[in-house]
Symmetry: C2
Subunit: 350 residues, 2 copies
């Protein structure tokens, strides 16, 4: 394509200005010199108002997520890879194979091009690692003080293999609740970077794409056996909120075993310091599964054999409870209700 | 579904607070009492992390657009219907039938629930009118001063009928350039509401869904004839920018006839007052088509027979030009180059 720009973007020193959002030459230059090299793939290169994709062989799954995390960079990741993982995971926990992502950027005037490049390169790498293509996108610019650096909305489309049926309304009394690993890592890693809170920790975000873990779990359960009932990634609101959503949708209760829920010592210490409960803290690379009791051992073994499920645990079971409570047997032999998060525990954690 | 909330949302007096973005009970209540009633459809009601959709019969088209327009309400529309029309149109100008939308909201703390409801009701109505379903969504909340009321990213998925091939790289010398109606209405309508600019006009935004107009044009040209080469909606950057994108992608030039380009007298007057050129002003319910000369009369007749194309005009032709200039024969018999918009003419117009 002909170079129509007199000078290339000064990525090292340049900043976003309102021109980059005007849809003219400056917008086109930003896309060609910063976004396209990071995301490069033939579908994106079509350069039309949208992307034309091959026919999909099966039912589709579609999911969207806005990302407004603050700060933009945190131990273990940044808003770019998070925006890919978050949407890939939402598609994956529906049982689908994620194929395509659309990415929409809302940039604040004055944002450094170098930071933007770092973010989109991280997105591109995360997409390649996950085997999904960023096929279309959009950029808008808002005035300084009307945004916060960059917000990224990603929308994913995947294909659901024949026979797979997962849903939050499929949990049945007697089912087993499995968790793929430690909780709270993402939230604590992000919190540790907040200006008002900075504390010492080596905890990193668990941000990761879970679709291959899902695939191995579906295979272990038998794809069309129906034994795998529900998959969810406990992000915003944490494990407690996710489990309450499931009990509510399915009209059941749950009984958890506190001692079985893996929490890193550093996460526990940080939570104590800050007065937080790890059950409500966001995760970005974990999943919770509800599965039929006869399939639980096979699914748990499959999880533990996968790099992202090595610390998977059976954390409880589904109960018959018209009140749909999530209850927990505590380490000290008591029992308590694990309620919904009613307020804001951690703003802008994803 | 059981009501878990003690009190319903106070939509009349309530405002968005950080709790509405936390993913817990307040988030769920906002979705159930404000978003779901406005968008209601069975696919959205599944209530999972994404939507499971039927298998699509054909190639897919995917497009995404962030909407940051200011002000949020303007003569002829609001950010809600605009967010539906904008993405429906991006899918439609690829030749596809739009089917599904995902909607992601970034809300600013303190935003009035009553305004939010008005916006999502407008979105719901626009989606129903266009025959598309809003199948999945997301809401995030940012602190006051880190956003601007509401930003909406919509992502559309459609299906491309067999035989249809449209693309910005398909214009050929000798092709005819058609425009569906007057230009500049949307931009001038929005500008007339800006606090700094307020001026008297009865101009309304042309915001509209163009997919049925596209369908009738494809039929007139012959769906698999290839005679319809390019369709585009000249939004941000206006007609001039859209035509420059096409000449650049196709490696051709264009010669426009200024006298044939319809501009309302009020739009022309407003542009003169503000020192703007209607060629660069955003439209949200117009399209430009490049088509083979032998099909031009039939396509133009089909456009004029459609409510959204009554004022359609043949505005120029594609030329052989290695420099890929868009030129215009002026009303006074001269000729000038219609260049890209290089800077920001109108910030946050969509």
């Amino acid at each position: 394509m002909k170079k129509d720009y007199i000078r290339p973007l000064d990525i090292k020193h340049g900043r976003i200005d309102m021109n980059h959002g005007a849809g003219g030459r400056a917008s086109a230059q930003l896309i060609e010199e910063l976004f396209l090299p990071a995301f490069d793939n033939p579908l994106l290169r079509q350069g039309n108002d949208g992307a034309t994709l091959p026919a999909a062989n099966g039912r589709l799954v579609m999911s969207t997520d806005g990302h407004v995390i603050s700060p933009l960079f945190f131990p273990g990741g940044d808003i770019g890879c998070l925006a890919v993982h978050g949407t890939v995971n939402d598609v994956a926990v529906m049982g689908a194979t994620p194929l395509y992502l659309a990415a929409s950027f809302i940039l604040e005037e004055g944002f450094a091009l170098a930071e933007l490049q770092r973010i989109v390169q991280s997105m591109g790498a995360a997409a390649r690692d996950a085997g999904v293509a960023i096929v279309t996108g959009d950029t808008k610019v808002v005035e300084q003080g009307k945004g916060d650096g960059v917000f990224i909305t990603t929308t994913g489309v995947g294909v659901l293999p024949a026979g797979v049926v997962l849903g939050g309304d499929r949990a049945r009394p007697g089912d087993v609740v499995l968790l793929s690993g430690t909780i709270g890592d993402h939230g604590v890693a992000v919190l540790s970077q907040r200006e008002s809170l900075e504390f010492e920790t080596t905890i990193e975000s668990d941000t990761a794409a879970l679709h291959t873990l899902v695939a191995t779990m579906l295979q272990a359960a038998g794809r069309d056996s129906g034994a795998l009932r529900v998959l969810r990634d406990p992000t915003r609101g944490g494990l407690a909120t996710t489990l309450n959503e499931i009990t509510r949708q399915s009209g059941v209760g749950m009984l958890l075993d506190e001692a079985a829920i893996p929490v890193r010592a550093q996460v526990e210490a940080a939570c104590e310091l800050l007065g937080l409960d790890p059950l409500y803290i966001a995760n970005e690379g974990k999943l919770v599964a509800v599965c039929a009791p006869e399939a639980a051992d096979a699914v748990l073994a499959a999880m533990r054999a996968h790099p992202l499920g090595q610390q998977a645990q059976r954390i409880g079971s589904v109960t018959d409870d018209p009140q749909r409570f999530v209850q927990m047997a505590t380490r000290f032999g008591g029992r308590r209700v694990v309620d919904w998060l009613s307020g804001e525990q951690l703003p802008r954690i994803c």
